[in-house]
């Protein structure tokens, strides 16, 4: 299908502008003029509607069918949150308003959302204060690591490195490195979690902290979590909780109770806000009491008279990390989601997410290798190495799933599992849908034995079949110069 710019016809327009009512002609100073005309596409409204409707038909999302990438990409977004977020009082408000004289009183509703969201996240995390500013999960990590660095500086600690397990998300070591720390990788053990003895040996006076995702990317909860936090605290290090997998424990366990000092949550994962094509995400960061003074500005406070205000005067703050108040529209959707579900609802979310993942694991165990035995949390990781012996790799199974109407799961991650397929069903899927997915996976496993050659032509049902997986990485064309 053609790009919208390729459909452009000079002079075509979607509206009839009225006569200009400015009678006098005047010339703009040439320094204010563009040197060349703006390259906009010229189309009728119907051209535009058809273009995007047809594009959307080629897309596959959670609104189409089962989407086994799970919260790792995005959960189902309840439509009511969209409805609330589109209300004019929220959608049309200008972010400068609270800072203008007399503007605060006109934005009490929005400031109240931010204030109460902070309180609710504290309760869910077991933390003493939150900043809602970070604009994504990795931004939250960086904010957290900057807070960690600010704490050690204030304490006069000489800290040089941060420990991360080998199963960590790639953003963890990146965030620690940008905050100025060396990164040391702690190996995992045969149970799939960070090895406690290796960790104990690597911790010394120069250890700034540890970054952990729990449950980790294999969907396994580290049983030594309390001990890990105690060990890191013994050298005045800090424990950082990466909330990427919070969906597994929401309402049932709190990182603050494990002993963590800093956490970040991904609102776009756990609290079901939309995010695609790189944003907008939201990665609020919570901290324990001794770290609250380092939180970024601004901070929404409640005055004695019950009104809300934005505060900037924080001496030890790490400063500005984002414009205004974070991705307000996203925070608002998550706020609605939490209020709609309540404490009981959130507990059922994590319960169903975990039950669904274990159901998939137990039904597929006969057909695929699962490198780690026992119960998992909200996601399960299988290895297609049995099928790979017949020449059918994880990527071939992914393509086969597409032809059966399902979005493939994450593949080749975590890298510690060969031929990895990481399946996260989330809580929203019915048993019928999950069974249909499992039946497709079983059917694929059988086909991998009887007819491995057939996979090479898959997918057959998509507008294009096998894409060149590496061309975009090798031949960068960000300006679309080859699109003539």
């Amino acid at each position: 299908m053609k790009l919208i710019f390729e459909k452009s016809q000079k002079g075509r327009t979607g509206i009839l502008p009225g006569e200009s009512d400015i009678k006098e002609s005047f010339e703009l100073d040439s320094s204010l003029m563009r040197s060349e005309p703006l390259d906009l596409c010229e189309l009728s409204e119907l051209d535009v509607v058809r273009h995007f409707t047809n594009l959307s038909k080629k897309n596959f999302g959670v609104d189409d069918n089962f989407y086994s990438l799970g919260s790792c990409t995005m959960k189902y977004n309840p439509k009511v949150t969209e409805l609330i977020a589109s209300c004019g009082g929220f959608a049309n408000i200008h972010p400068l308003m609270p800072q203008l004289r007399g503007g605060g009183i006109l934005t009490q509703g929005a400031l109240g959302v931010l204030y109460e969201m902070d309180l609710m996240l504290r309760e869910i995390a077991g933390m003493d204060a939150f900043t809602l500013q970070p604009l994504a999960g990795a931004h939250g990590e960086l904010t957290g690591m900057m807070i960690m660095a600010a704490y050690h500086k204030k304490q006069g600690n000489h800290k040089t490195h941060v420990l991360v397990p080998d199963s960590a998300h790639g953003t963890n070591p990146a965030s620690a490195a940008i905050a100025g720390y060396d990164v040391k990788v702690v190996p995992g053990n045969e149970d799939g979690v960070m090895d406690l003895d290796a960790f104990r040996e690597m911790v010394n006076e120069e250890t700034a902290g540890v970054m952990l995702t729990c449950p980790n990317t294999l969907g396994i909860f580290n049983p030594h979590i309390k001990e890990i936090c105690d060990i890191i605290h013994s050298v005045d290090g800090l424990a950082y909780y990466d909330g990427a997998n919070l969906n597994a424990i929401t309402g049932r366990a709190r990182p603050g109770d494990f002993g963590f000092d800093i956490v970040h949550f991904n609102l776009h994962k756990t609290f079901a806000t939309p995010h695609g094509g790189g944003g907008p995400g939201s990665g609020p960061v919570g901290v324990v009491e001794k770290l609250t003074k380092f939180l970024p500005i601004s901070v929404v406070v409640k005055r004695n008279d019950g009104t809300y205000a934005v505060e900037y005067d924080r001496e030890d703050s790490i400063g500005y990390i984002a414009p205004f108040y974070g991705n307000f529209g996203i925070i608002l959707r998550a706020y609605v989601y939490i209020l709609m579900l309540g404490a009981k609802g959130l507990r059922r979310v994590s319960e169903n997410a975990v039950v669904n993942a274990n159901y998939i694991k137990s039904r597929l165990e006969e057909y695929y290798d699962f490198p780690y035995k026992g119960l998992c949390k909200h996601e399960c990781v299988l290895s297609a190495s049995r099928q790979a012996k017949n020449g059918v790799h994880a990527i071939d199974i992914a393509k086969a799933l597409i032809d059966r109407g399902f979005h493939p799961p994450t593949i080749y991650f975590p890298t510690t599992v060969p031929e990895a397929m990481m399946i996260e069903p989330t809580e929203t899927e019915s048993k019928e849908t999950i069974d249909a997915f499992i039946d497709a996976m079983i059917d694929i496993a059988k086909q991998a034995e009887t007819n491995p050659e057939s996979f090479k032509a898959m997918p057959k049902t998509t507008p294009v079949s096998r894409l060149d997986e590496t061309k975009a990485a090798k031949v960068l064309d960000l300006a679309c110069t080859g699109c003539e």
């Binding site: 890298t415 997986e469 590496t470 090798k474």
Partner: protein, 125 residues
């Protein structure tokens, strides 16, 4: 088939030693696991310790470190990989070599596996 005459690490690098200079690359097993290599971050000339990070291979699946099988000084890198990273996949034991190291202790090769030992290693892995 694992070629004879080379030495292998448990991180799936190979080294071929001629006149005290070791040519380093990754094994066929390693390139299969990586998938198509899209970018090679080559080392700079200079000293390197055994098991130190030498290069980074980016593929469609992951970015992976390549470690120095033996200590010495990097004296030459395979610049062809800058424009043709796929050589690491296509000819991993020949044109896909990564760099040459002037070895500080050629006898340290005794710490590495020969072809038969490496073949057994990947079969059991």
């Amino acid at each position: 088939m694992v070629p004879q005459g080379l030495y292998y690490t448990d991180q799936h690098e190979w080294i071929k030693i001629e006149d005290g200079v070791g040519t380093v690359g990754i094994t066929d097993h390693a390139q299969q696991q990586l998938g198509e290599v899209t970018f090679v971050e080559l080392p700079e000339n200079g000293p390197v310790d055994a098991n130190a990070e030498l290069a980074v291979l980016e593929s469609s699946k992951a970015a992976s470190d390549v470690y120095a099988p033996m200590a010495g000084e990097v004296i030459e890198v395979n610049e062809a990989l800058e424009s043709q990273p796929e050589l690491v996949n296509q000819q991993c034991y020949t044109d896909g070599w990564i760099c040459k190291i002037k070895l500080s202790d050629p006898d340290a090769v005794s710490n590495l596996m020969d072809a038969a030992a490496y073949e057994a290693f990947i079969t059991n892995e």
